[in-house]
Amino acid sequence: MTGASRGWARAPACIVALFLWAAPALAVQPDEILADPVLEARARDISREIRCPVCQGETIDDSNAPISRDLRLIIRERLVAGDSDAEVVDYVVARYGEGILFNPRAEGVNLVLWLAGPVLLLAGIAVALAAGRRRKATDTALTVEEEARLKDILNQ
């Protein structure tokens, strides 16, 4: 199994998928793991950011689909060949499109996604402070009444 699937990693993914579909495997397999623990750790980090193209909700690190295994092997091959992490990701994106990235790049329209949190937070704080200031304005207006009532109570 080991040697054969290594060879398949170079074949187009869809063909590999067809062949392996009948025997779904667990996520990362023992035979995929690189001997160099540093490279392996980098491979795992990259695979956690790549979506399994046929199962949508899973990363290739978690996925059992054969195509994910194929992608995991490609990533390791590129790393062994000496690519940097960014180069590996670019390599995969060039072949499978940006939809494969679980962490959309913070550029272009995606900035809307990335900045939504901080912007909404600031907006929320601003609204709350403005409402607080309005409330304080009524606060001072009310204390006059309250003072009158207080006097009443104290005089009793």
Binding site: L26, P30, L121
Partner: protein
């Protein structure tokens, strides 16, 4: 015949809901008491009818009536009885029937327990509940009828997805639905108050228990789902930021915000408009969640129903209820003038900060969840958003919440003294910093996540304990201990829920930071090290289950020569559904779980084996459970039991106020 009776009962229930949605509303408007009084019996009758319909469908599943389309596609004669019953809601049509049943239960609960509500408010609340019922029963009958018969019934069914045949998942949907639908109560109260044009402390007190109940159910439901993912999916993950998980998480976040802002309405008659808005949005997000799950618009491992007609129908329901309520809100919000004023440093402000953090984080989750849809429909681009994004974008909010919680919870109402609350918290702070340093010293990895999570969790936990202790006043330790037992249950609930949150924060960080993983090929009889443990693969046997066959391994875990556990991870194949699953074997422990997974047999006779040490895994479910328990304690506070209708709380027996 029983199936037809169920079908007929559901149609009748829709008719009753139409009456409940209209006449009492008109009666409340005209001041006609007879029309208003119609709401209660209508709600009760609806429960009886929908209960009958649900019982009929359950019966069809139990006896495997394969003339019903849903039973054929989701059941099998060989399926164990528990999953025949849970199969009723393990599919689109049945789960919607459960949704409607729970809606009817809540409606009947208002009719039954709502005797102390003002007549008009009660009639209006029930009418709004009736409208929701009409919408969903129409959806059920027209697009997803569970009582659809087949002309040619097959001999046996197609079985349920084996991943769903699991005790944890059998009860996960009902709890989630109890939560989702429970938020409809807050919504109905909000809409009724908008129609009425009045929100006061009493309204806050009526809304809070329903929201609390819904939030407790959501907490349990989410925890069950997460636990199921942890032990069933086979790699020890517990949260995947999957659209369906997010769909339940958004209402949970907004429900938590609503719980806290309703306190301000109840105690201080402030934040009224915001609370009403939050009640509308919380249910709106429940509907969005239903839309996401039921329409399949966002592709996900969970989306077992993808039908555009259904999606459009739910979208219409969503637009009608959320849009309608928001329009009403825009027209009436001005009438809800705040009475209580408060300074910048006060409990109210702290709760506002809590609300901002919770609702903005819900928005972030929402935008992340729909971003792929926006990409596809608006931008024409294929985009994905997953775990790395959510971890980066959501975590700051969770950290912010944990940081402000202890001092915020101890501030005085109206005008607080931050210095004073912080001085009280010095021991908690020192203790958590010490734990953080200890965590840093003990760990071998380079990640800061573990120690930070430990420090934050400890800060929240010890902060909650400090807060509870501070409520006992200034007497000697003995007197304070005695007083501790007499504190209102709401105080205990607050402390428990906050402690549970702290424990959960810690457990999440610990599991992400300190997990140990090992993947390798193991020969029979061979051992390998896993952390400080030794794991040996003794044998792998073929075992026949009721509706599956399994390769069952026997693995012995030892530590320093002593046997810690003998575990049996399995690899199952369900022939009817044609699906293999892995059944991880877990040795649950207080400090760690040992998690073993059996993979494929290898050509050289060995087996692929994945093993994990999951640190503090039980603390995650424990923390969630304590959170839910805190909610339950608050729910049983005497002011809800005794004085639910009174405008002033009953002072007797509350020593620490």
């Amino acid at each position: 015949m029983i199936v037809e009776l169920g079908h007929f009962a559901l149609i009748l229930a829709l008719m009753v809901a139409v009456v409940q949605a209209t006449l009492p509303l008109w009666g409340a408007h005209r001041g006609d008491r007879r029309l208003m009084a119609l709401a209660g019996p209508a709600a009760g009758l609806q429960l009886v009818l929908i209960g009958g319909a649900f019982a009929a469908l359950t019966w069809a599943f139990v006896v495997s009536d394969f003339s019903l389309a849903v039973v054929v596609s989701n059941s099998h004669t060989a399926k164990p009885m528990l999953y025949k019953v849970s199969g009723v809601w393990g599919n689109h049509e049945g789960s919607l029937l459960l949704w409607v049943l729970i809606l009817a239960i809540y409606g009947a609960a208002v009719a039954f327990f709502g005797g102390n509500l003002p007549e008009r408010l009660r009639a209006r609340v029930l009418a709004v509940q009736g409208m929701i019922g009409v919408a969903f029963m129409a959806f059920l009958l027209w697009t997803s009828n569970p009582f659809w018969r087949l002309a040619l019934p097959p001999l046996d069914g197609e079985d349920m997805n084996p991943l769903l045949q699991d005790p944890g998942l059998a009860f996960h949907p009902p709890f989630l639905y109890l939560g989702y639908v429970g938020l409809s109560m807050a919504f109905s109260f909000a809409v009724a108050a908008l129609i009425e044009g009045r929100v006061d402390a009493a309204w806050g007190r009526w809304v809070r228990p329903w929201t609390l109940a819904a939030w407790i159910f959501l907490t349990i439901g989410i925890a069950l789902g997460s636990w199921w993912a942890y032990y069933e999916l086979g790699w020890g993950g517990f949260w995947f930021w999957d659209p369906v998980e997010n769909a339940s998480f958004m209402p949970w976040l907004l429900g938590a915000a609503l719980l806290h802002s309703a306190i301000v309405v109840e105690k201080r008659e402030s934040l009224k408009a915001w609370t009403v808005l939050l009640a509308i949005m919380a249910f709106g997000f429940s509907l969005i969640g239903t839309f996401i799950v039921r329409s399949g618009a966002i592709t996900s491992v969970h989306a077992f129903a993808s039908d555009p007609a259904r999606g459009v129908f739910i979208l219409m329901i969503l637009v009608f209820f959320t849009g309608g309520a928001l329009t009403l809100f825009a027209a009436r919000a001005g009438a809800m003038e705040a009475r209580g004023v408060f300074g910048l440093v006060s409990r109210e402000s702290a709760l506002v900060a809590n609300n901002i953090l919770l609702s903005v984080s819900a928005c972030v989750v929402f935008i992340g969840t729909i971003w792929p849809m926006v990409g596809e429909w608006v931008l024409g681009r294929d985009l994905s958003v997953g775990e790395p994004f959510f971890n980066a974008a959501f975590t700051p909010f969770a950290v912010g919440l944990a940081l402000i919680l202890p001092p915020g919870a101890m501030l005085a109402w109206k005008r607080g003294d931050l210095g004073r609350s912080l001085r009280g918290l010095v021991p908690a702070l020192v203790l958590s910093l010490a734990l953080m340093a200890l965590g840093y010293a003990l760990q071998t990895g380079r990640t800061a996540l573990g120690p930070i999570g430990l420090g934050l969790g400890a800060w929240v936990l010890f902060g909650a304990i400090t807060d509870l202790w501070a409520r006992t006043g200034r007497a000697g330790a003995g007197g304070r201990l005695a007083r501790l037992t007499r504190l209102p249950r709401a105080d205990w609930g607050k402390a428990a829920a906050h402690s549970g949150f702290g424990i959960t924060v810690f457990a999440v960080a610990a599991m992400l930071a300190w997990k140990v993983e090992d993947i390798r090929v193991v020969q029979l009889g061979e051992s390998f090290p896993l952390g400080s443990y030794e794991v040996r693969l003794d044998e792998v046997a073929q075992v026949e289950g009721p509706n599956y066959t399994s390769a069952t391994a026997t693995m012995t875990v030892t530590r320093a020569g002593a046997v810690v556990a003998v575990l049996h991870p399995e690899k199952r194949v369900y022939p009817v559904a044609g699906m293999p699953t892995t059944e991880a074997a877990i040795d649950y422990g207080f400090w760690r779980d040992l998690y073993l997974v059996l993979g494929d047999p290898q050509q050289d006779g060995g087996w692929a084996v994945r093993s994990y040490i999951e640190p503090f895994a039980n603390w995650l479910w424990g923390g969630s459970l304590i959170m839910a328990l805190g909610g339950l304690l608050s729910l049983t506070d005497r002011r809800y039991r005794v004085a639910a209708g009174a405008r002033k709380p009953v002072a007797q027996g509350v020593a620490a106020e």
